[in-house]
């Protein structure tokens, strides 16, 4: 079991990188040099690592969000919509209540983001509990409704001045969370001032720990996983499926909403239309690659963050390889992870057969 937990993601990553290498070769560049450049840029310097962790941060949140859903037996493919509305909610609190001191405003923004994410994820949960509608289609539909709603708000009533993309007014200084560069300065570490890594990364780590404790060390987490593994058995044991469905989606949505910490409170300092390059969908990849375990999710998110940071460098430096190679690699990794199910299932069937004998 332990070996498989490492082996399947490792093989999937290897397949992704191999396909990436073939594509790079076909585009007329050296795969070895390109990947050396990619990972060298992502991990070769303190600045590179900082950028990698910055790009990893939102993926940790969405990876945890999707994983909590999976553990509870639900497929939350709506993290994208949840985080979009959450980011808007955080920005709205941040620029509407500028008179509040930081110790109130920062938690208020975070709570607004979590609440918006939880509510948006809660609607498909209610529809599932009340009408038995599968959450997948509804969360997809809700993604597009969220994009439309946020698009209306940011181009209409809350359109801020300037900007190439529609954006809101900036949030108050008091609503902003500090960047790592400040701490690095004090410790005498040399880090360029433009490095955007901020405290939200540390919050993401704390969330990993909290999700781990919740899922594997509390009664509520146990009940949620029981519903995810075998709803009929869980119900027979007196666990409410309806209650757990609601709780799972609400927690999942709140976690997705925490992307606002990085995107709004730590980096852009406002809501920008189309700010998410698909964090919600990449979160599915991160969760699966991390085997729905917080430690695995952290590793998978850092890998994907490295691909983003390295991909940007490769795009700048090489002539024929664009940043889009990252999506190719990520897409292949996801397909490979999906394919791996056959090996897991083959084993499970054998186990069942053994029990029957």
């Amino acid at each position: 079991m332990k070996i498989r937990a490492i082996l399947i993601p490792a093989i999937a990553i290897a397949i992704g990188l191999c396909v990436g290498a073939i594509v790079v070769k076909m585009a007329g560049e050296s795969p070895v040099e390109t990947f050396a450049l990619l990972f060298g840029s992502a991990f070769g310097s303190l600045k590179g690592i900082s950028y990698t962790l910055f790009y990893a941060t939102p993926l940790i949140f969405t990876g945890l969000a999707v994983a909590v859903g999976f553990r509870g037996g639900l497929f939350n493919i709506g993290a994208e919509g949840q985080l979009i509305l959450a980011a808007f909610a955080a920005a709205w609190v941040g620029f509407t209540l500028p008179f509040l001191p930081a110790w109130i405003l920062v938690p208020a923004c975070i709570l607004a983001a979590m609440a918006a994410g939880a509510v948006w994820a809660g609607i498909p949960a209610i529809l599932k509990v009340k009408f038995g509608v599968h959450e997948v289609i509804n969360t997809i539909m809700m993604n597009f409704i969220a994009i439309g709603l946020a698009g209306y708000l940011v181009t209409g009533p809350f359109l801020g001045p300037g900007g190439q993309m529609p954006w809101t007014r900036p949030i108050a200084e008091a609503a902003r969370i500090p960047r790592i560069t400040g701490f690095a300065d004090r410790l005498g570490i040399d880090l360029p001032a433009h490095v955007p890594l901020n405290v939200s990364f540390l919050v993401a780590i704390v969330c990993c720990v909290l999700v781990y404790v919740f899922l594997f060390r509390t009664k509520w987490g146990f009940e949620m996983r029981a519903v995810g593994l075998n709803p009929k058995a869980a119900e027979a044991a007196g666990i409410s499926i309806a209650k757990n469905t609601m709780a799972t989606m609400a927690i999942s949505g709140a976690l997705a909403g925490m992307v606002a910490l990085n995107a709004v409170m730590g980096y852009n300092y406002r809501y920008i239309d189309g700010f998410s390059p698909g964090y919600g969908f990449l979160g599915i990849a991160v969760a699966l690659l991390g085997r729905n375990h917080p430690a695995g999710i952290l590793c998978a998110a850092v890998l994907f963050g490295a691909l983003v940071e390295g991909g940007l460098t490769v795009d700048r430096v090489t002539e024929h390889v664009s940043n889009d190679i990252v999506y190719v690699i990520q897409g292949v990794i996801i397909i490979a992870v999906a394919s791996a199910a056959v090996f897991v299932r083959a084993r499970r069937i054998r186990n069942v057969a053994e029990i029957n004998v």
């Binding site: 594509v23 076909m26 585009a27 007329g28 497929f75 493919i77 529809l127 009340k130 009408f131 509608v133 599968h134 997948v136 289609i137 509804n138 997809i140 539909m141 809700m142 597009f144 409704i145 439309g148 709603l149 698009g151 209306y152 181009t155 209409g156 698909g278 969908f281 990449l282 599915i284 990849a285 699966l288 024929h320 390889v321 664009s322 889009d324 190679i325 990252v326 999506y327 190719v328 690699i329 990520q330 897409g331 292949v332 990794i333 996801i334 397909i335 992870v337 999906a338 394919s339 791996a340 199910a341 056959v342 299932r345 069937i349």
Partner: protein, 303 residues
């Protein structure tokens, strides 16, 4: 109501109809296809590139169908052969398509992800006698209409269709009756790739004149919504696509006008689809075995 809006709605309905018909084959056989978006994107790209190099837009259309099927082949491999999760596979294919198409465009043409304009388009056809009233349309619009009765006959009036639906409702029973479920599902997924590819071709060389990065912009998901809104039937899907196409035309018309926010019109298809699923506007029932990987060594207890 002005006719310009209606004819533009008819145009915008065509890619949705083609993709929804593609989705119908796949979903009726039990394979969830949220990869429609990626399949369309691949079709759009293949059509533009093939037309550019060959100079023949019809060759482009053919290439789009083949390319869509090739990409769908991956979905079939994962879902049917490897018995993987259909949704995960779909997400993977969508992300792969979003990256691969502009990557190849960049490598071929040195652009940031688009293809050069095609020299010759498919031209337009009109309905004899009605052309002056309804306007002229790309041949692919007529193809999208033709696809509806073809899909109906194929899925509901042939032996293959019966097998396909049986695979989607109860694969274990189908297998007992001698249906090769894996093969039927595989063919259904390939067909969904063909039609989604054609839908993409309409976007790049029927409606437009080149491929642009992420030019499907969610239309694959909109087609999926139309399929559900149309209750997984060809006629229902066509009606839903015409309605959604009209909304799409309306929201484009409303851009910058300021009276009604276009985003609200854009949201309507998704909201009504959710209402239909919840049973508020007539109940839509998905195929019973939709999304369930079939493994003949496993019992049917889960169904």
């Amino acid at each position: 109501m002005d006719l310009g809006l209606i004819s533009s709605g008819i145009r915008l309905a065509a890619p949705l109809t083609l993709a929804a018909i593609g989705g119908l084959f796949s979903e009726r056989s039990g394979i969830v296809n949220i990869a429609l978006e990626g399949l369309m994107l691949v079709g759009a790209f293949a059509a533009a590139v093939a037309t550019f190099y060959s100079g023949s837009p019809w060759f482009g259309v053919l290439t789009a169908a083949v390319a869509g099927a090739m990409m769908a082949h991956v979905h079939g491999l994962v879902c049917v052969k490897f018995k993987g999760n259909h949704i995960v596979s779909g997400v993977g294919i969508n992300i792969l398509a979003i990256g691969a198409t502009p990557f190849i465009a960049g490598a071929l043409f040195g652009t940031t992800g688009s293809t050069p304009d095609i020299a010759r388009s498919l031209g337009t056809w009109s309905i004899p006698g009605l052309g002056a009233v309804l306007g002229e349309y790309s041949p692919l619009v007529f193809l999208s209409w033709l696809a509806v009765p073809v899909a109906y006959v194929l899925v509901f009036r042939t032996r293959f269709g019966l097998r396909l639906r049986a695979a989607g409702e109860n694969p274990w029973a189908a297998e007992t009756a001698g249906v090769n479920v894996a093969r039927v599902r595989y063919i259904a997924v390939l067909l969904s790739g063909v039609f989604a590819g054609l839908a993409g071709a309409f976007l790049s060389i029927g409606y437009g004149t080149s491929f642009v990065r992420n030019m499907t912009a969610g239309r694959g998901f909109l087609a999926l919504a139309a399929l559900i809104f149309g209750k997984w039937t060809p006629g229902g899907a066509l009606a839903a696509c015409l309605l959604f196409g009209f909304f799409d035309a309306l929201q484009m018309r409303l851009q910058g006008v300021g009276s009604i926010p276009p985003q609200f019109v854009q949201m309507i298809p998704y909201i009504v689809t959710m209402l239909v699923l919840a049973g508020a506007v007539g109940r839509a029932r998905p195929p019973a075995a939709l999304g369930k990987s079939y493994d003949r060594e496993q019992s049917s207890a889960g169904i």
